[in-house]
């Protein structure tokens, strides 16, 4: 590395991935400082933001001998993540809050703050890779550990942002990450992976309690595809397209939610075939380098842990046609398009 190493601000959550990311960056010769983001002030089971997590992060920074900051982005998190999450549910839309947090907070607010404070780069513990596809031209690619790949939730990063980001653990298997943390004697080595929505406490009633205290929840009639009444669901706002469990409707065979009409208080239940679609329409597109050409062959990933589905991209990527009929995408979910392992970009599924 050159005589004056770049300054990197690593987002240190208090979890094992970001802890190891910080350690790797130091080894690689960067001038590293760490920032823990305080995002959520309410209850939550884990994930981040508790005093204990900030303490873990601070301790990791102490052990690594790097400066540690705590940035309170709670207001931004409320405005860009929590409030829209609640408002979307009131309309029967199921957003992905992790995507919105990355879009607006981690890779926008934090990057702006980092630049303001004189940092050259930011880094996170996401399992995703940054690859130089041409000299000075950076793209995102799936992580080495396919099972932990998080390229879906950071797909909205544009090339100029990617050029300012480092993802050191994307190059490693998760087991390797834990081994490194253990070898470094980090408290966070055996912390469980964060999962679910970080601002919703499962132990306190989960989504029902969280949304129920913020928006009115309405009962709805469950009907089959011929319009015959099957029963009642408690909260239509909590029903997601494709949902199988928790409908309170016993009908013997495998049944899925195939349509949700919040305003009409109606949930349509059908068989697996009723859930299939030939395409999905997207809005709010973002591209790493620009939209794919008309008819380009792509892989579409329609949920955080979904399988990539062969498809073609049309109309600047706003229409994705599946090669074989595929499960319909719940409105509000992000659909991410890949060229092999490379992230092209994506958008948010519109309501049909």
């Amino acid at each position: 590395m050159s005589s004056v190493a770049p300054r990197v601000l690593v987002a240190l959550s208090g979890g094992v991935d970001s802890s190891v990311a910080a350690a790797l960056l130091i080894e690689q010769g960067y001038r590293v400082e760490a920032a823990t983001l305080k995002l959520w002030g309410g209850d939550g089971d884990s994930g981040c933001c508790s005093v204990a997590d900030v303490d873990d992060a601070r301790r990791v920074a102490q052990q690594l001998g790097i400066r540690h900051h705590v940035f309170n982005f709670g207001a931004d998190f409320d405005t860009h993540v929590v409030d829209p999450y609640v408002a979307a549910h009131a309309e029967g839309i199921t957003p992905n809050p992790c995507v919105e947090c990355n879009r607006h907070v981690k890779f926008d607010r934090l990057l702006v703050r980092a630049r303001q404070l004189g940092f050259d780069l930011i880094a996170t513990g996401h399992h995703v890779r940054r690859v130089e596809v041409a000299p000075g031209k950076w793209s995102l690619s799936r992580a080495v550990d396919a099972a932990k790949d998080q390229s879906y939730v950071v797909h909205m990063l544009t090339a100029d942002v990617v050029a300012s980001c480092l993802f050191p653990v994307g190059e490693m298997e998760k087991s390797e990450v834990r081994a490194r943390a253990t070898a470094l004697g980090m408290r966070t080595a055996d912390k469980p992976d964060s999962q679910d929505v970080c601002f919703i406490a499962k132990s306190q009633g989960g989504r029902v309690t969280f949304l129920g205290s913020r928006i009115p929840l309405h009962k709805a009639t469950a009907v089959d595809t011929d319009g015959r009444e099957l029963g009642t669901v408690d909260a239509v706002e909590l029903i997601t397209l494709g949902q199988r469990k928790g409908l309170g409707v016993a009908v013997g065979e495998r049944r899925y939610v195939v349509d949700v009409d919040v305003a009409g208080r109606r949930v349509v239940v059908g068989g697996p075939d009723d859930l299939l679609a030939n395409d999905v329409s997207l809005g709010l597109m973002t591209w790493v380098h620009g939209a794919p050409v008309e008819g380009a062959s792509v892989f579409a990933q329609c949920s955080a842990h979904g399988e990539p589905i062969p498809a073609t991209a049309h109309q600047e990527g706003t229409l994705v046609r599946f090669v074989e009929p595929a499960r319909r995408v719940a409105p509000g979910q992000s659909v991410v398009l890949f060229d092999g392992d490379l992230v092209l970009g994506g958008g948010i599924a519109r309501r049909v």
């Binding site: 305080k38 900051h69 940035f71 309170n72 709670g74 303001q116």
Partner: protein, 384 residues
């Protein structure tokens, strides 16, 4: 830590280390050291030695005061003996000013689980308790158990009118105790005079050059106090647990030195503070001084800088060798908009750019020169 303090502590963590509750020679010496310290602390705070309860810091002292002071015994006006109108716990009211430290606010809030009510006393735009509103609250509420108002606010440095507040309470709620957090006050004010009306008075050693983790609560004889921790009955059964001998000795030494030098230090620090604040207000466009200096102690410089976020500013100041604060950090270390500034009605765009620079006895002209260079540079960089 002040030199005289470290020096005073050394024997008690070395050759003379002993348990003050024992009966042998070393123990008796330790006990005597505590009692010498008690005499000194009492004198510095205008109390009798028996009124001094040593604690593990200011927060503990304030928790003991808020949770433990049940009521104030007072003489009935017609002289017919002593009244002891007990404010029972259930339904009792605890009033705290809107700008109290979390040690008071959270201790008071914690009493609500026992069926008590926590009421907030508003402050004016300068950050001083509104006496008119306090009088209304004292008249409107029955069964007031405690009123807590700090001597000096920790963020903005405003001095609270403890004497007039005590008078109002005596007239309108004579059985209520006045709890005074003088953690900041003991450093910069003559608390003997300023806080004489308080029934309970808390101090914390590290604020005046003593060790961390040591404090004291002054409990006037007319206060009915219930202990909050139980054990060997130390501190006249008001605070059980073996005393921190070295810490207590160190606190007394530091308090004595602080009290002795207070007037001279105050004058010197005030002139440094004035140069600092005037310089910053001149150099930073749009910056305002949060409270007028006429209601503040000498050591506090607090300004609000529009168009800048405190969090970023503090990082750049730290880079430049200036240790500052925004005034309010939660347990995680995250900075949030100060409840003190909110209570004063400071607009959000100003409150977001809050900057507190605290001066101390050791602050030099060179420190002020540095701050006058670094702070405007940092602001300019962030506004760019």
């Amino acid at each position: 830590m002040a030199d005289e303090c470290a020096h005073a502590m050394t024997p008690w963590i070395g050759a003379r280390f002993g348990n003050p509750s024992g009966s042998h020679a070393i123990a008796r010496a330790a006990r005597a050291a505590i009692e010498d310290a008690r005499d000194i602390v009492a004198e510095c705070l205008g109390a009798r030695p028996g009124e001094v309860v040593f604690t593990g810091g200011g927060t503990e002292a304030l928790n003991l005061a808020i949770a433990g002071a049940r009521h104030r015994k007072f003489a009935l006006p017609d002289g017919e003996g002593a009244g002891s109108i007990g404010a029972g716990s259930l339904g009792a009211v605890i009033m705290t000013s809107a700008i109290e430290h979390d040690a008071v606010q959270n201790a008071a809030a914690a009493q609500t689980v026992f069926g008590e009510t926590h009421t907030t006393i508003p402050v004016d735009a300068n950050g001083v308790v509104d006496l008119g509103r306090l009088a209304e609250l004292l008249q409107a509420n029955r069964n007031i158990r405690s009123v807590a108002v700090m001597a000096v606010n920790n963020e903005i440095g405003t001095i609270q009118p403890i004497g007039p507040i005590a008078d109002l309470i005596r007239n309108l709620a004579p059985y209520a105790v006045l709890v005074c957090d003088s953690v900041q006050g003991a450093v910069w004010l003559d608390v003997v005079e300023h806080c004489s009306g308080a029934d309970l008075l808390a101090i914390s050693a590290h604020k005046f050059g003593g060790p961390q983790g040591v404090g004291a609560l002054i409990v006037r004889p007319n206060v009915a106090l219930t202990a909050q921790q139980f054990g060997g009955g130390q501190e006249q059964e008001r605070r059980s647990g073996t005393q921190n001998v070295a810490g207590i000795v160190g606190m007394a030494a530091a308090l004595q030195a602080t009290t002795h030098n207070r007037a001279a230090t105050g004058l010197r620090v005030a002139s440094l503070r004035d140069r600092l604040v005037d310089g910053l207000l001149g150099a930073i466009e749009g910056a305002i001084e949060t409270s007028p200096r006429s209601v503040k102690v000498a050591a506090n410089a607090h300004i609000c800088v529009p168009g800048v976020e405190s969090e970023s500013l503090l990082v750049l100041l730290d880079d430049g060798g200036i240790c500052a604060s925004a005034g309010s950090a939660c347990a995680s270390g995250a900075i949030h908009t100060s409840p003190v500034l909110q209570a004063m009605g400071v607009p959000q765009n100003l409150a977001e750019g809050a900057l507190r620079l605290s001066l101390g006895a050791s602050t030099t002209e060179a420190d002020i020169d540095l701050a006058l260079k670094i702070v405007p540079e940092a602001v300019a960089r962030l506004r760019n």
